[in-house]
């Protein structure tokens, strides 16, 4: 066993332990944080950095290029897909008001809050335009009621 292999093993083990530690912190953050956005903040820690560290460790430990390329594919795939899914989940979470607004420091999507809190029940469809909640709700209920009346 040459010196280079020993150094490679030590680096790989350190990276593995760091990645596992990130997974543990993700679990702790998921349990302790108060709402969807903060839980997602904690839960996506291992999604990019942890997986990247563990993939580098695996690429060091595994022999042969085929495994290395596949691990690189997984890492690139995580980098591409993590922002997309986080964006979709957080958008739906904001629109459905699974967000503790009193804990937000900056809320750039907030229109005028009084009208919005009165009209939006938190169950509006995700494609409802945020600007005119009252009009949207009225139109939606009108659309939903008319066919039923004609049918009944």
């Amino acid at each position: 066993m040459s010196v280079l292999e020993v150094v490679g093993d030590v680096v790989a083990v350190v990276l593995l332990l760091l990645g596992a530690l990130l997974c543990l912190t993700a679990g702790i953050g998921l349990v302790r944080f108060p709402d969807v956005l903060t839980r997602m903040h904690a839960g996506t820690k291992p999604q990019v950095l942890g997986v990247l560290l563990i993939m580098v460790a695996g690429a060091i430990r595994l022999q042969g290029w085929s495994a290395t390329w596949m691990l690189l594919l997984v890492a690139v795939f995580q980098l591409l897909t993590a922002p997309v899914s986080a964006h979709m989940i957080s958008r739906v979470a904001y629109r459905r008001r699974h967000v503790r607004r009193d804990l937000l420091l900056v809320d750039e999507l907030r229109a005028d809050d009084e009208l919005r809190d009165r009209v939006y029940r938190g169950d509006e469809p995700a494609d409802a335009p945020p600007g005119e909640p009252g009009q949207t709700l009225a139109e939606r209920s009108g659309e939903n009621r008319n066919p039923r009346d004609e049918r009944g």
Binding site: S66, S85, V99, S141
Partner: protein
């Protein structure tokens, strides 16, 4: 090497258990989506740790499948929740506020 085994699998298992706790308790569907996403990532990390510690490259293709599955699952459930109440009675007004909104309202009342 045994110490590394125990440490790595212990931390991964602890993270997976805590994600399962959030999956069971989570007040809203979106919390469960986030917990499932994290759980799948932790499972992928565990497979990769196994591959690295055993020098066993047979589980590496499984990693690709698991990461694909996590992405497709979370995106499809998020879209499902986004359009969920389009067909509900009375435009979903009978369902009431989500729990986070109730908590925010309670906090405002306390203040």
């Amino acid at each position: 090497m045994t110490v590394v085994y125990w440490l790595a699998y212990g931390m991964l298992g602890g993270g997976a258990m805590l994600a399962l706790v959030r999956l069971g308790r989570g007040p809203s569907l979106l919390d469960r989506v986030v917990a499932t996403d994290t759980l799948l990532v932790i499972i992928a990390a565990g497979l990769a740790v196994h591959a690295a510690l055993e020098r066993d490259p047979t589980v590496v293709p499984v990693l690709v499948v698991v990461s694909l599955l996590a992405f497709v699952g979370s995106v499809s459930v998020a879209r499902y929740i986004g359009g969920m109440l389009l067909s509900s009675a009375d435009d979903g007004q009978d369902v009431g506020l989500p729990e986070a909104a109730e908590e925010a309202r309670a906090a405002e009342v306390d203040r």
